[in-house]
């Protein structure tokens, strides 16, 4: 899996390309760790080019969300292919992650405040 990183103001956008599974999820976790260590904790993942995800890939996403939340940051996702979105729905993770139609929607969205 390839990961492209760019800054969009306060938000760091990572565009993922390829498969997200056990082998490639480790690379994503490492990349997020580096960003958290630099206090870049408003992170967006554009999944448009992710053509395969399984439970190991979902596990990697849950792991990075926990890592970001520990730093009081925020993780958003966008551009899920219908097949990928379906897997989030089946596993109920669509309710756990903040998922947007487009990258721009995610970047400009206000944070949800929970009590």
């Amino acid at each position: 899996m390839k990961i492209k990183v760019k800054d969009e103001g306060q938000v760091t956008v990572l565009s993922l390309n390829g498969r997200l599974d056990l082998a490639t999820g480790a690379g994503l976790k490492e990349e997020i760790k580096k960003l958290c260590d630099k206090d870049s904790t408003r992170i967006h993942l554009n999944l448009e080019e992710v053509d395969f995800i399984n439970s190991s890939g979902l596990g990697a996403l849950v792991s990075v969300m926990k890592q970001i939340r520990l730093k009081k940051g925020r993780l958003t996702l966008s551009n899920l292919a219908p097949y990928v979105r379906e897997i989030f729905d089946i596993t109920q993770l669509a309710h756990v992650f903040e998922i947007f139609e487009t990258e721009q929607d995610a970047i400009t969205s206000p944070a949800v405040v929970t009590s």
Binding site: R19, A23, F52, S56, T91, Q92
Partner: protein, 143 residues
């Protein structure tokens, strides 16, 4: 007509990528629909990852055997590991909580497979058998 392949992989993370590459090549030659491909890839990848990680404990000296069959009306796979008590682990599994990092693989197999079976092998390993039905032209005509 059946296209059948038997493959063996060492229990490493790299084998998961290799298996997905091999399976994609096989499916490319089989004119499967995107829906059939996605369902089969996901179900097989979950069982294969479980075999590598939980069954064989990521020990490269242990192998995972994969048999794939492409038929006109179904795609099927058998995944065998060299672990112990895999069947017991399947029976005792608990539902995953939203923030759990694991525990969703079997649910996904059971969602995407038309049928799935679990058996203990003679040596105590786990055999997972997966079937995904195909919508053949004949079937579509009968609907």
């Amino acid at each position: 007509m059946t296209d059948s392949r038997s493959l063996e992989y060492p229990s490493t993370e790299e084998s998961i990528e290799q298996m997905l590459d091999d399976l994609n090549v096989l499916l490319d030659d089989s004119h499967v629909t995107a829906e059939e491909r996605n369902a089969f890839l996901l179900a097989v990848s979950e069982a294969f990852t479980n075999a590598i990680v939980h069954g064989n404990g990521l020990k490269p000296g242990k192998e995972v055997k994969l048999t794939l069959r492409i038929k006109e009306n179904e795609l099927s796979a058998d995944i065998l590991d060299e672990g112990q008590k895999g069947l017991e682990q399947i029976r005792q599994r608990k539902p995953s909580a939203p923030m759990d990092e694991g525990g969703r693989g079997i649910d996904l197999i059971e969602h995407y497979a038309t049928a799935v079976g679990y058996m203990e092998t003679d040596t105590g390993g786990l055999r997972v058998s997966i079937r995904v039905s195909r919508k053949t032209e004949t079937c579509k005509e009968n609907i």
